[in-house]
Amino acid sequence: MKYVDEFRTGDRAAGVAAAIAAEAQPGRDYRLMEFCGGHTHAISRYGIADLLPANVRMIHGPGCPVCVLPIGRIDQAIRLAREHGAILCSYGDCLRVPASEHLSLLKAKALGAKVRMIYSTQDALRIARENPDKQVVFLAIGFETTTPPTAVAIKQAQAEGLKNFSILCNHVLTPAAMHAILAGGVQIDGFVGPAHVSTVIGSRPYEVFASDYGKPVVIAGFEPLDVMQAILMLVRQINENRAAVENEFTRAVTRDGNVKAQALVDEVFELRESFEWRGLGTIPNSALRLRRTTGADFDAELRFDVPYVAVADNKACECAAILRGQKRPEECAIFGTVCTPDNPVGSCMVSSEGACAAHYTYGRFRK
């Protein structure tokens, strides 16, 4: 695959790995958090840990949309399908998330609820057009990457007067989560900054983490060589006692980002005062909802009686500490025993981008 294989070659990886090994100073620890689940996946999928010196340690961040979605939100989606008879459209990775009463969207489907897996918001709109006598709800989740397509769908639905379409909005904001992690006092020496999120928001929103928190941020693409190059750039900043926002992913990310997408999101969405994140707790100004003045008609939380009810996580589950980078997956007592990708207890085990699922699936031979 052209433009893909070039970023996965072993000889170049060996070159970057040698540079990291040469520049990482013995006796110094480099605790680097990759915020995004996409990076977590790449690190595990390609075995990048094998290519790093022991004192360069990757901490998996909370940038996995499925992982930070609280159980109560899935419960709402299930209730929309089961109690309100809606056709619930969801991206595939949400279907297996464990919800209350031993349910998941997939299990609700088996019980007769109308749950449809979709690949894009356009699929949800099509289903709404094809079923004018049914309510169709899109379970909108994700960071800034998936928000613009939801905004487009809302604009289209408005233009078409699609009365049977609405969204259960769970779009969340990356910088808010980074603030929450740093405020929590986690020992992090630098961030591998998001790839796709940054194509939308640009590199500017991370500048505060360099200036106010003194943390280097290097925005990186999702290919393994991108990640390794970013690690090298972080090691260099740390060695030089610098904290700046640098951009490894110059082929897709600019300082200003996608201004058009930002304007669209701003037109359709407004900030929620607070939002509960799984693992990180309730964070002010960290999520979006449809603008009350223009988009309220398409908000499933207003159209249907499905109040959000917070549900406590399993007591033994360490997802909260893992999502904050305070613990590693293998330090959780139920990792790989009670909690596996087949029977996930915590959210980090559900999505392939989750820290626990990635470690279990790809790295568990490393004990």
């Binding site: 695959m1 294989d5 990886a13 390609y46 075995g47 990048i48 690949y119 990708p341 790809y362 031979f365």
Partner: protein, 341 residues
């Protein structure tokens, strides 16, 4: 007295109705004018509830497989030939010579007879090419909406070759792991044929019999340890079963895996790993390291030596990545590609 005139089945425009499963005249006509016509052989011609088959010399192998693929017709094949290949391949990779097939059809009311005829013709063609007659069968009809066109279950019987006893437990550290050709073609072709993904990919299913290749490998004697056709769950799942059965580790090299660019590209877009995508005309084998050259010449130009059996870590499949790292290749969780066969 004149014999009763029976209007022939309208294959071109007709549709399956409930009477075709009733056991009465309509069913008899469907069997005679459609199934028996295309699948004819001396055993089917006996016309009884079962087939009387000649005695065989050796241990029998039996395998059954239900086919629910959607769509029914896809580039490179259809549910008909797939239902023949699926079962005879399962028999063949046991080290047996496939001898006979039985076929059970669940038809949905309203299904076009023209499509059914295409499917049965395809089965007949596949059975003929493989030299394995369909000797008995059954047809049931369910109401519209209770099935999806047609489901086909086939059962195959074969006779085990003398001295052949294949098992994952035969594998030894140092043995080589082979695949007979590119992986993931079938699953990718079917997925794209569904048309839900708005992808255009020039790719055909690999559905085909593997019995000839299997027979050549059996000639290696005890140097052939184990064979499997990596259908649902793909190469990764079959190798995990091998790792479990042998209690050994299977190490595969990402560089050496044969994956067509069309398959790699489609999987990349969909976030699916080709290691988990079904093949329907490939086999994988574990061969003693001393027999590698003979195995390669038996399997043909598309075959590849993709890895080796190791002592540790027990029960796991490891992949040496193109990047130079390593990772576990786990059993599949969930089903990213339902109804692929």
């Amino acid at each position: 007295m004149k014999s009763d005139y029976i209007r022939p089945l309208d294959i071109k425009h007709g549709r399956v109705d409930m009477s075709h499963g009733s056991g009465g005249r309509a069913m008899a006509q469907l069997i005679e004018e459609l199934f028996a016509k295309h699948l004819s052989n001396e055993y089917l011609a006996q016309g009884d509830d079962g087939a009387r088959l000649p005695a065989v010399n050796g241990r029998l192998v039996m395998s059954t497989d239900a086919h629910v693929v959607s769509p029914l017709f896809f580039p490179g094949g259809d549910i008909g030939c797939l239902s023949v290949h699926g079962t005879i391949n399962d028999v063949a990779v046991m080290g047996a010579t496939p001898l006979y097939l039985a076929a059970g059809f669940v038809l949905e009311e309203g299904f076009a007879l023209a499509d059914l005829a295409r499917i049965v013709e395809s089965m007949a063609q596949a059975a003929k090419e493989a030299g394995v007659p369909i000797v008995t069968g059954d047809t049931k009809v369910v109401e519209a909406g209770k099935a999806d066109g047609v489901f086909i279950t086939t059962t195959g019987v074969g006779v085990l070759r003398q001295g052949v006893d294949l098992s994952g437990a035969n594998a030894r550290p140092g043995d080589a792991v082979f695949v007979s050709g590119p992986i993931g073609d079938h699953g990718t072709a079917v997925m794209v044929a569904r048309g839900e993904l708005a992808l255009e990919v020039d790719l055909e299913s690999d559905t085909a019999p593997v019995a000839a290749s299997a027979q050549k490998l059996c000639a290696l004697g005890t140097d052939l340890r184990w064979m499997r056709d990596p259908t649902r769950g793909g190469l990764a799942t079959a190798l995990n079963e091998l790792a479990q059965q042998s209690g050994l580790a299977i190490s595969i090299d990402e560089h050496a895996l044969p994956v067509r660019p069309e398959v790699a590209g489609t999987c990349e877009i969909l976030g699916i790993d080709p290691l988990y995508v079904a093949c329907e005309g490939r086999l994988i084998a574990v061969i003693a390291s001393g027999a590698v050259e003979r195995a390669l010449s038996a399997l043909g130009a598309e075959a590849a030596d993709v890895g080796e059996v190791r002592a540790e870590p027990e029960g796991l499949v490891l992949l040496q990545t193109t990047l130079g790292g390593s990772r576990v290749v786990d059993m599949l969780v969930g089903d990213p590609l339902p109804r692929i066969c």
